[in-house]
Subunit: 386 residues, 2 copies
């Protein structure tokens, strides 16, 4: 979720940019990575520089599976994991192997807007389905599956089932089960983007959807949100038929595993427990930031601003009165030196113009408070002009 590189590069440092999905530089654990790299180099194994196993090294996958089991409560075997270059690269790889141009992908509305760019690059037709207050609605999905034009192959349901981007919502176990049943019935694959899975503040969310052991689910995970996006290191979890297909593709057969060197260093972090300690710290920081953000909205924004306090992840989703268009508000916000993602940016159909998404990943508590104050001023100015 590199949604703001360009924004970040060009932005005035005075702007409180709550659009950014980057971690604050202070949350990037350079010292822990340094210690892990030293540990790894101390092993004196030159094979960390060699072509790696296509699925990822078994040592790394074993440590990763233990880490995921203790952090998610799901069953995650090393055999069900494949090392990737992060969620975006995973989506691109899956599109290259499982789709052809003109095929269809169903997504939630709203969704992670940059995933749509990847689908577009592969010539895929995107259909978006409106969610409700609990997220993706299995009934809406079923109705669509029953009535759609079956001449166009439907390949994927792309969903963000946990601490969703942008809404922060987590899909219930019951809905997950029902959606997987539908995927089985209609021969549809679920790409579950679970980038925020491990960032539950207090309550552990349902385990990765792929822990259901349905052959219709591929879960996509990443170290971008819990360690560092610059590592370009992630994983996917799936049943063996998919792992087999993926590891035997031409790109991997030719280039070998996707990140042998970096994964060998992160393996040391997983082994030593420093990854867990860092994640605990991150969760504390994000919990606190989200509390501050929520309180600031309660205090500063008009009562008409509605939101549900998320239980984890990066994002808070605010509903403003229907007459507010957050696309215009975003423009007006420039002179108040505050920024956010407008609802229509997250809606494949360009709807949801009364919503906005605020991220806690980049700004600390003081800046978030300031940001909400400026947002309140922006809103006041805009309302006066209505």
């Amino acid at each position: 979720m590199n949604e703001g590189v360009t924004v970040q590069m060009n932005t005035d440092p005075q702007v409180v940019d709550m659009a950014l999905g980057h971690p604050s530089p202070g949350l990037l654990p350079l010292d822990l990575m340094r210690t892990a790299a030293e540990h790894r180099f101390d092993q004196a194994d030159p094979l960390i520089l060699q072509y790696g196993h296509e699925q990822g090294g078994i040592g790394f996958r074993t440590e990763l599976s233990r880490f995921l089991e203790r952090r998610t409560g799901g069953e995650v075997s090393p055999e069900s994991l494949m090392v990737t270059g992060g969620v975006s690269q995973s989506i691109a790889l899956l599109c290259s192997l499982y789709t052809r141009p003109g095929d269809e992908v169903v997504v939630e509305d709203p969704t992670y807007f940059l995933s749509l760019r990847i689908f577009a690059d592969f010539g895929l037709k995107v259909t978006s389905l409106a969610g409700d207050s609990e997220g993706l609605d299995p009934e809406v999905l079923e109705e669509y599956l029953q009535t759609r034009n079956s001449a166009v192959p439907l390949r994927f349901l792309y969903t963000i089932p946990v601490f969703q981007n942008p809404t922060g919502k987590t899909l219930s176990t019951k809905r997950r089960q029902r959606i997987i049943e539908l995927a089985e019935k209609y021969e549809l694959m679920i790409l579950a983007d679970e980038a925020y899975q491990l960032l539950g503040y207090d309550v552990t969310p349902p385990p990765p959807m792929a822990s259901s052991a349905s052959s219709k689910v591929i879960s996509l995970g990443s170290f971008s949100k819990i360690l560092g996006p610059g590592l370009r290191l992630g994983w996917l979890q799936a049943e063996s038929e998919h792992i087999k297909k993926l590891v035997s593709c031409g790109m991997l057969d030719s280039g070998g595993g996707l990140n042998p060197f970096t994964s060998s260093i992160v393996r040391s972090m997983l082994q030593s427990g420093s990854m867990d300690r860092h994640l605990d710290r991150l969760i504390d920081v994000y919990r606190q930031r989200m509390n501050v953000l929520s309180r600031s909205i309660w205090t500063e924004l008009p009562e008409s601003a509605e939101f549900v306090h998320p239980g984890g992840g990066y994002f808070l989703w605010v509903k403003l009165p229907d007459e507010v268009d957050t696309h215009s508000l975003k423009k007006a916000a420039r002179s108040y030196k505050v920024n956010f993602i407008s609802g229509s940016q997250t809606s494949p159909r360009g709807l949801l113009q009364q919503y906005l998404r605020l991220s806690i990943s980049y700004n600390d508590e003081v800046r978030l408070q300031l940001g909400v104050q400026r947002l309140a001023e922006t809103l006041k100015g805009a309302t006066e002009n209505l």
Copy 2:
């Protein structure tokens, strides 16, 4: 060129495996990488863990451009470079953005056989053109371009113009110019896989084809052959229209640059000069190995075995008498504990059965001598059975 991961994993260590395109573990410079990592961590810049610029960091690209200019003699600006995850990932990325299933790709026969697997994954139709003693023949290419069925879009000419895999041949400057003229005339893009560009033993080969500044050429480079395949770090060089298209694709827009962390470490190696010193050492080792391999073939194999001593790279290409089928020979070679790549493995049309490819990358001089002795025994056994 991970052609042998599976072979390597399963192989009897007693086998002299000259099929492998891996560097020997002893040639993987773990200590230099360690020193470079320490230098990079000493800079205390947490942004090496942050989302990176889509094109790759300007600091890294600047060092890389200087390195390439001093090692290739070509003009290589930082603006013309984009950081990649290696040649295989570059080919896959280019296929995803420049082709649609059913489109055509022209390749040399013989060629790097695993590239064909990537093209197949993207549903591309591969046409192979026979080369001559100097490699890809512009006249054969022109004749094909004039007479082909133009209803099928022809997207790429995929060529390995320098120390070719498998033949070791380097395309002359004159042929390169003519091929680029044809690409311009017929609106065809050249993907120049230059993985072995920097491994000239004594003479610097012609510079990367993209140094021609033709908008029809994309040169693909990699640290796999000169530093470590496990880094999954490479680059491509192209005119700005291609760089713009690539850096604005969905995958990069979402995930950011392809290898910020690893490239920051390699940047330190480029800065300190340790990359150059390592490359000088590699070239010395490979020159010596190739000399030993050549001499052994002269000494051990029958006079009917023909080859041209390559001026660089990993591979030596041997022509055996027409009645020898190296596919069968490869099977017979198992009991002599020696292995190689048969000509038909490298030929998209399954031709060239009297050729074989020997690699110097994995085995040292003593092992290469032993390998050729065993090959001679295999050949003797096979000839007696004819």
